[in-house]
């Protein structure tokens, strides 16, 4: 069952330097219980993508200029972009949870863990203080935090990085959402913790049956998590497909470049660093006319610079944004 259908989502930032097209016409589907990984280098618009899904783009300067996000849960199908702020608010945290990259700064330093988790529960589920507390403890247990009754009275700075991220996950999952958006949740953690967190997420996904949108730049993590993969470059999805398709048969030169730079992705659990492709991501406010990857592409031809590349809307299961793929 398709839980989320994103069509032509476009988010722009209107800054003094010009219009930044952070997300440009993103289109993908997310099925229930599956994991979609969005991969790309830093600054390619992944985080904006995930925030756009939650409608958490700071406005101004940002704005979702077009597209639709069809969300299909027990209450039926609706376009998140057309909901009122209040309706959208009720979806956040309740139907769609989110965790972030930096567990330290993402937790409010002046409130206890228990307070911050319980807040979401009380908000969406209601119940007496006692019920909220019990559920909080249950969530902390679920994410594997030992001595939850004691931990919930502690402040974020008293926890280790891994524990904080577990707490974040507990918070995001406290209302058993249909979708968990994880924005580089393991980047700030060290490798062993990273593996634990990934395991935890997979386990919870099985247990709770939620879909995950996993944003990362780490192909190793992708290999471990993904059912579907979307490769993002300069605000655009350059290639979308199943994990198998992407890993076994990358079509887009950028994807190919990414994959090539991992010596052995089969046992990627060590999470080796990805050597960069020569050049840098172009400024999103000043994109070239044609293919944004043209300057870094080995197979570049004249046409790439002159003409915008369109994607193939018919072929939803597999999308490649390249003339020569």
């Amino acid at each position: 069952m398709t839980l989320l259908q994103v069509r032509n989502l476009t988010t722009q930032f209107f800054t003094d330097e010009g219009v930044v097209k952070a997300v440009d016409g993103a289109t993908f589907n997310l099925d229930k219980g599956k994991t979609l990984c969005i991969v790309g280098e830093s600054g390619c618009g992944k985080s904006v993508m995930s925030l756009s899904l939650m409608r958490l783009i700071p406005e101004p300067p940002g704005r979702i200029v077009q597209g639709e996000i069809m969300f299909n849960d027990v209450q039926g199908e609706r376009d998140l972009l057309k909901l009122s702020n209040e309706e959208m608010r009720r979806i956040r945290g309740k139907r769609i949870g989110m965790i972030f990259q930096e567990p330290m700064t993402s937790l409010n330093p002046v409130y206890t863990i228990g307070n911050q988790i319980g807040e979401a529960i009380a908000l969406h589920e209601g119940g007496s203080n006692k019920q909220v507390k019990e559920r909080t403890i249950r969530m902390l247990e679920l994410v594997g935090i030992p001595a939850p009754e004691q931990r919930m009275r502690e402040y974020p700075h008293q926890l280790s990085g891994g524990m904080r991220q577990r707490a974040m996950i507990a918070m995001a999952l406290s209302c058993t959402p249909d979708i968990l958006i994880a924005d580089e949740p393991t980047t700030a953690l060290d490798v062993t913790i990273q593996a634990q967190i990934l395991d935890l997420m997979r386990e919870l996904q099985r247990e709770l049956g939620m879909a995950i949108i996993f944003v990362t730049h780490d192909l190793g993590v992708v290999a471990e998590m993904a059912d579907q993969i979307a490769v993002m470059y300069a605000g655009k999805f350059v290639e979308v497909g199943t994990a198998q398709q992407i890993f076994n048969d990358p079509k887009h030169p950028y994807t190919q470049g990414l994959l090539k730079s991992i010596p052995s992705f089969e046992k990627g659990t060590e999470g080796k660093r990805l050597p960069t492709i020569p050049g840098v991501v172009p400024s999103l406010s000043n994109l070239p006319m044609g293919c944004a990857f043209a300057d870094r592409c080995e197979k570049v031809k004249d046409r790439c610079r002159g003409e915008a590349v369109s994607e193939d809307p018919c072929n939803v299961g597999r999308l490649v944004r390249c003339f020569y793929a």
């Binding site: 003094d16 330097e17 400024s283 000043n286």
Partner: protein, 330 residues
């Protein structure tokens, strides 16, 4: 997200320029500085340039060559051998025009005269010297002391923090006004003393602010990173911590400059302002209180000058803060 390499300063400047009011304010302050510097050339009773009896001279520069009475004689005599350029405002700040006491704005006195027949424009121009320097010097002193002490206390903690905190406490508890009074009584009232006293009593707020920011930032990753990478304490404080504290300090400084100008005005009101031979906006305003409903120009002119200057400082401060604050950028 910016391609070309920029220096920090030019980046600040680019951000700063975005606030039109701030740019206008900068021009205002710049104009004030120019006026203050050129005060003798703008408002003076001596000619700028003079040719008399075949000799060229510039009477404004020195008391030399001519006393004023000689000058009067020369100017009065209709000898053809005299040629001179007067400054645009041919009155000094303490030139008494006894024939037009309390005159409303006229052609002769563009903004009128005060109860003693002194030209308001001229006082305004000369007063800008006092008011500008009071603000800048006083708060300059305060900021330097405050930043250094605040960094030391916030960064090192422990004994340094304790001693500096005690010092801050002592200074905070000290009645500022009494210190000013005493110092003025000791060394004689002068604008310099007023500035120094406002400065040395005003640093505590900034120090506390820097210390607080320091405490806040100290635990963050990048400071640990710097510590781990073997940076020296001074460098960590200067390069890694100070920039974070700079934004609130700048707010404090911009308000501080303004409040120093106001403090000078308040001192004048209580009769402890700058010496009478120097016009200051504060003293003009405090003298005007009696004339509030009969000589509107007396209140309005220095009042507006103080107002505009303080506004300018504050607007610049705010724009600067927005420009410097690393978190403000999108």
């Amino acid at each position: 997200m910016v391609n070309e390499r920029q220096t920090y300063a030019s980046m600040i400047w680019r951000q700063f320029k975005k606030s039109r009011l701030a740019v206008v304010s900068l021009f205002v302050v710049a104009a004030l500085v120019v006026i203050a510097l050129l005060a003798p050339f703008i408002a003076n009773e001596r000619p700028i340039l003079m040719r008399h009896a075949g000799e060229w001279s510039m009477p404004i520069f020195d008391k030399a060559s001519l006393t004023l009475s000689e000058l009067d004689v020369i100017k009065d005599s209709s000898s053809g051998d005299l040629w001179f350029i007067n400054p645009p405002i041919p009155f000094g700040p303490t030139t008494y025009d006894l024939d037009s006491v309390l005159s409303p704005p006229t052609k002769k006195h563009l903004l009128g005269t005060d109860g003693d027949g002194r030209d308001i424009v001229s006082q305004l121009i000369w007063g800008s010297r006092i008011s500008l320097s009071v603000g800048v010097v006083a708060i300059g002193i305060a900021a330097i002391i405050g930043i250094i002490f605040g960094l030391l206390a916030g960064y090192f903690g422990g004994w340094a923090d304790m001693i500096i905190s005690r010092l801050i406490e002592i200074m905070t508890c000290f009645p500022t006004f009494f210190l000013i009074l005493t110092v003025l009584a000791f060394v004689g009232p002068s604008i310099f003393n007023i500035m120094v006293v406002i400065g040395i009593t005003g640093w505590t707020g900034i120090a506390r602010l820097v210390r607080g920011e320091c405490l806040k930032v100290r635990g963050r990753q990048f400071v640990h990173a710097a510590v781990v990478s073997g940076a020296r304490d001074g460098r960590i404080m200067w390069r890694h911590i100070l920039p974070h504290a700079l934004a609130p300090v700048l707010v404090s400084v911009s308000f501080g400059v303004a409040s120093a100008i106001l403090a000078e005005a308040a001192l004048s009101f209580l009769g402890f302002g700058v010496p009478a031979s120097t016009a200051s906006w504060g003293s003009m305003l405090s003298e005007a209180q009696e004339y509030m409903d009969i000589g509107w120009w007396l209140t309005l002119v220095p009042g507006s000058a103080i107002f505009v200057t303080i506004m300018a400082y504050n607007l610049i401060g705010e724009a600067l803060r927005d420009a410097i604050d690393p978190n403000m950028k999108t």
